[in-house]
């Protein structure tokens, strides 16, 4: 299985390459990609430098152009496809069918991967994208259980990539407008979720309140670990009971499933986290490289090493990890 790693900037890209990535994925410095955060992403000289570094180390480069082009500014997305093609990258990760049509018509040789933002959760959907746009690979949304993933591989007309580690989106990706409902900006249109410009951290006595566009997302007592106010991870009241109504802050970690995923025919594992630091990328990629190498050396003897587990736990949201939808404890 190919290890596909996040590169939010040049130091992260170097960290991924140096620690054993098979491929890196990155975005241009604008809202054409789903991690459009200030200080992240690539353009001009740094972009060329990054591509050269990856290629010199035989690491593939994928460009994410995986938001939905805003009608008024279609040109920006179209130009991004032109640029990715000119850069001769290994694949472009896309979600919008208009953009796929443009790429297929103009650059039939440019390999397309279907972004998780396209929400293709079944083989009929995958066939649509394969037949019309010749996609080579699809990234599977984080809503399927392990047995559903295994079933999908059997029926899929294209190679599949799954999320292996990182922040956990609990909604069906590409089908969530929570962020634009509260802040006006969404992953689909702007490449952001719960944008930093809308966040306030406010002390009220002993309590720290986090708000998103003035909507109270959570309150933390002194000593509690205060997380970033992502809407789906807030504490709200339902039936007069206070809880994480949608999801607890936690990270996805599928390392235990490496043997099952490999046996089922999954072709690539994706590490989430273009917004994370180079140190984070280095640690996570290094541990996953070791785990995959250990698995392929002796598949029958594969065991998750305690040190790997601890390293991943330490860098996880709320220091908690879960198998998420793969195991569905809530099912």
């Amino acid at each position: 299985m190919e290890l596909v790693c996040p590169a939010g900037n040049y130091p992260s890209l170097k960290a991924a390459v140096d620690n054993g990535a098979d491929a890196v994925y990155l975005g241009f410095k604008n809202e054409t990609n789903a991690r459009n955060f200030s200080g992240l992403n690539f353009r001009d000289r740094k972009l060329e430098q990054s591509l050269t570094y990856a290629r010199d180390h035989q690491v593939k480069v994928f460009i994410a152009i995986n938001t939905y082009p805003q009608a008024e500014r279609w040109q920006l997305w179209r130009d991004s496809i032109d640029m990715a093609n000119a850069l001769n990258v290994n694949a472009v990760i896309v979600a919008d069918i208009g953009l796929m049509e443009y790429a297929t018509q103009n650059y039939p040789e440019l390999p397309l991967h279907l972004s998780v933002q396209a929400s293709a959760t079944n083989h009929e959907s995958l066939r649509f994208y394969q037949q019309h746009f010749n996609i080579r690979r699809a990234v599977v949304p984080r809503v399927l259980s392990l047995s559903q993933v295994q079933n999908l591989v059997q029926h899929s007309p294209v190679d599949l990539e799954v999320f292996a580690f990182g922040s956990l989106c609990i909604m069906s990706e590409g089908r969530c407008h929570l962020s634009s409902y509260v802040t006006g900006e969404s992953p689909n249109m702007c490449g952001v979720c719960s944008p930093a410009r809308a966040v306030t951290w406010q002390h009220s006595g002993e309590v720290l309140e986090t708000r998103l566009n003035n909507v109270l997302i959570d309150r933390f007592e002194r000593g509690e670990n205060a997380g970033y106010p992502t809407l789906c991870k807030g504490r709200f009241e339902v039936n007069e009971r206070l809880s994480h109504v949608l999801e607890e802050p936690t990270s996805l970690n599928t390392m235990d499933l490496i043997p099952q995923l490999a046996a089922s025919g999954i072709k690539a594992l994706k590490i989430e986290g273009r917004q994370r630091s180079p140190a984070y990328v280095a640690q996570v990629v290094s541990v996953w490289r070791q785990a995959l190498d250990a698995y392929y050396r002796a598949p029958a003897d594969f065991r998750v090493d305690g040190v790997w587990k601890q390293t991943l736990k330490n860098v996880s949201e709320g220091s908690q990890t879960t198998l998420g939808a793969y195991s569905r404890p809530w099912q």
Partner: protein, 300 residues
């Protein structure tokens, strides 16, 4: 402009559904969408029930469209989807690309529902070529976005080949998850949910810790807490060439809502919308939860 009644997004007992549509048959809506779009465990109404209802409503002069599921994970769900697509009589609303694939293979026309991500005219063109007859604009898009999309489709000379429908009234469907949040609120596993959604015919209210209503839980779907209401924007929608105005069913007060929209489309005076608990921000290119009163609009 035509008025449509969207699919019922909640889980209501069979008899409630039948009685509801009996009432709706004599309202001014032109189009009625029937079917389950949220959760495949909701089986009070089976496909043959929907089809019987469809025949009945058709005889009463309504155009009926069969709506299909949004999040399809299991093989059994694809099987049910194929049965809907093969109904032989009624147009189908596709809410997932799998439905479009199945319908396109059969060379059948379809409606693209609000969770088919169509954000620009080149994307619309792809589906028009697959016989898309109508699309429901994603709820987060604005009037300005719609203008740009229509302009683009006019330039491509395809605007005459499809109708545009705008979600105008109801709690906004905002997100879908594999997880059931209603079951979670009761501490129940999804497989043993006891069909708890039946107890929440208008969903469950989610409040912030300072008592602001934020969302509504409806099984695996998360909706807005506020009611989206564009009745005061009817003339703007008409101006933008909107063909169909979608009203999403609520258990109470729907007949009055339809009456108000019917009045508005015929230029008759309507009462102003109360700002509290209402929103219209998406249409005005703002946060979805915002509300601009008509006075604000005049001040622009």
């Amino acid at each position: 402009m035509k008025l449509s009644l969207g699919p019922i997004l909640y889980y209501w007992p069979r008899q409630v559904v039948m009685d509801y549509y009996e009432k709706m048959a004599s309202t001014a809506v032109d189009i009625i969408y029937l079917g389950e779009t949220v959760c495949s465990k909701r089986r009070e109404m089976r496909l043959h029930d929907w089809l019987e209802l469809a025949d009945h409503l058709t005889k009463q002069g309504k155009q009926v469209v069969l709506s299909s599921m949004t999040l399809l994970e299991a093989e059994s769900e694809l099987k049910s989807l194929r049965r809907i697509c093969d109904n032989g009589d009624y147009l189908v609303e596709a809410n997932d690309m799998s439905a479009i694939q199945i319908l396109a293979e059969r060379q059948l026309p379809f409606v693209a529902g609000p969770f088919i991500n169509l954000y620009n005219s080149p994307a619309l063109k792809v589906l028009v070529e697959q016989q898309m007859r109508r699309w429901v604009m994603p709820v987060e898009l604005s009037r300005l976005a719609l203008q740009a999309i229509h302009r683009g489709t006019e330039e491509m000379d395809i605007r005459h080949r499809f109708e545009t429908e705008v979600f105008a009234y109801g709690r906004l469907p905002l997100a879908y998850s594999a997880r059931c949040f209603t079951a979670r609120a009761y501490g129940l596993a999804k497989d043993d949910c006891n069909l708890i959604c039946l107890q929440h015919p208008q969903g469950m209210n989610v409040k912030s810790q300072d008592q602001q209503e934020v969302f509504t839980l409806n099984g695996i779907q998360t909706q807005s807490a506020a009611l989206y209401d564009l009745r005061e924007e009817m003339s703007e929608m008409k101006h933008e060439g909107v063909d169909v105005v979608r009203l999403s069913p609520t258990l109470e007060g729907m007949v009055e809502v339809i009456q108000a929209y019917d009045d508005a489309r015929h230029g008759r005076a309507i009462e102003a919308v109360r700002a509290e608990g209402q929103c219209n921000g998406y249409w005005h290119q703002g946060c979805g939860m915002d509300h601009q009163s008509s006075d604000d609009l005049k001040a622009d």
